[in-house]
């Protein structure tokens, strides 16, 4: 079909997804953006957040870690360090991670070196939870 878009989600461990989709929504650094076929060539970094694509009218959600995406008119390549599909996420674990990160963060000052790390962990767990609930 001419309005289909080739999507590849590549992580260091595996090819998380490869196939034709109708639409992709990517959590870019400058905000979330959607990609349809015929999109302008674009290279964007990706933030911790949720990525989703529509295939056969059905949406699939992934929680993603930092990386970047390369968009051409007919193909989207996403390179990220981790990608977890909604149904593979352990919701209880994510919630626990969120709680422990919040507790740790409350004790830290913004200047601490650990602060950034824990803050990222918190963002990751939030993304996981929101994806798992979709």
């Amino acid at each position: 079909m001419s309005d289909e878009l080739m999507l590849e989600i590549v992580t260091p461990e595996k090819m998380a997804f490869a196939g034709n989709v109708e639409e992709v929504t990517i959590p870019g650094t400058e905000g979330e953006f959607g990609v349809l076929r015929g999109h302008e060539a674009l290279l964007s970094s990706i933030e911790i957040g949720e990525l989703n694509f529509t295939k056969d009218g059905k949406k699939t959600y992934y929680a993603v870690n930092t990386g970047y995406g390369e968009v051409t008119s007919s193909k989207v390549t996403i390179l990220i360090e981790t990608a977890e599909r909604a149904d593979s996420i352990d919701k209880d674990r994510a919630r626990k991670a969120k709680e422990s990160a919040e507790a740790r963060l409350a004790q830290l000052a913004k200047e601490d070196t650990e602060y950034k790390e824990v803050h990222l962990a918190l963002l990751r767990s939030i993304a996981r939870i929101s994806v798992a609930e979709k």
């Binding site: 992580t11 461990e13 390369e70």
Partner: protein
């Protein structure tokens, strides 16, 4: 001369050793397969990553990033990547030797050397011989990108803080199952990227960069460090299991040789014992018939 019973005991002991080494060989083989698969799965990510990094580096004229800062190397840090477990032939020994040589060379030049040690074997060896600032042990059995990210963060922060001036990575490059070559590579300052690459004009699409190409490149550089370290980890893990496979294969065939010679010795001893006994009986009957 050892008695038949003694030799028999020894044969059964060697036989048990052989069973163990063979089992270890098979375990190493299956682990090797797993790590090879991991390497294979990493390849598309790494090659895609390098493509983008190179094309980006070509577009950005002057890259300034703390990770590219060249300072006079007074303080040096070395990542020594060994396996956690032994019984894999010369795998760790060769690497430790190479590391020691490198350390001696650098300290002879009057430089201060500190070490980040990944893997138990290297840590154990250098515990009293080198200044270990960071260590990661018992991690190689099961690891993913987060380990590479953690190691990278351990080394990136002090480098940017100018705590040290140069970083080297020493690891076993995976050549084949039987061959692993100790290799020294400089990580920081990062060697210039984007040069010596023949670019495909067609491939060089004019992208819209979001955020700007410079910012994007600066974000990609730490990821590049992750990629380099993750690759070294993968090669170490594959190399370790390959080396163990070869070592255990050798040990098994040595056991077989030992069993063969011991069995021969045992049969000879048994024969000698029977002959001696016969002689006794013959001697005894002769003495009786004469009397």
């Amino acid at each position: 001369m050892a008695s038949v019973k003694d030799i028999k005991r020894k044969v059964s002991a060697v036989h048990k050793t052989k069973q163990i080494t063979r089992a270890m060989n098979m375990v190493a083989a299956s682990k090797f397969k797993a790590s090879q698969l991991k390497m294979e799965n990493f390849r598309p990510y790494a090659s895609k990553f390098m493509d983008v990094l190179n094309s980006l580096a070509l577009r950005v004229e002057s890259i300034t990033h703390p990770l590219l800062a060249v300072r006079e190397p007074k303080k040096i840090r070395v990542i020594c990547m060994t396996s956690d477990r032994g019984l894999c032939g010369g795998f760790n020994t060769n690497l430790i030797k190479a590391t020691e040589r490198f350390l001696r060379e650098k300290s002879n030049e009057g430089k201060e050397v500190a070490m980040v040690s990944v893997g138990r074997k290297g840590r154990d060896y250098f515990r009293r011989k080198a200044d270990i600032v960071d260590q990661r042990v018992d991690v190689l059995n099961k690891f993913d990108m987060t380990l590479a990210v953690a190691i990278s963060n351990d080394v990136i922060t002090p480098f940017i803080g100018e705590v040290y001036d140069e970083l080297y990575l020493i690891y076993n490059q995976f050549v084949s199952v039987a061959v692993q070559r100790p290799t020294v590579v400089r990580l920081f300052p990062l060697p210039s990227i984007g040069q010596n690459v023949g670019i495909d004009a067609e491939k060089n699409i004019d992208y819209v960069y979001e955020p700007s190409d410079e910012v994007l490149l600066q974000r990609l550089l730490p990821m590049y460090v992750h990629v380099l370290i993750y690759r070294a980890l993968l090669e170490t893990s594959a190399g370790e299991n390959g080396a163990r496979m070869a070592a255990m294969d050798n040990a098994t065939s040595n056991c077989e040789d030992l069993i063969r010679t011991l069995t021969l010795k045992m049969n000879k001893a048994r024969q000698a014992a029977i002959t001696a006994e016969l002689m006794d009986i013959v001697g005894g009957t002769e003495a009786l018939s004469k009397g």
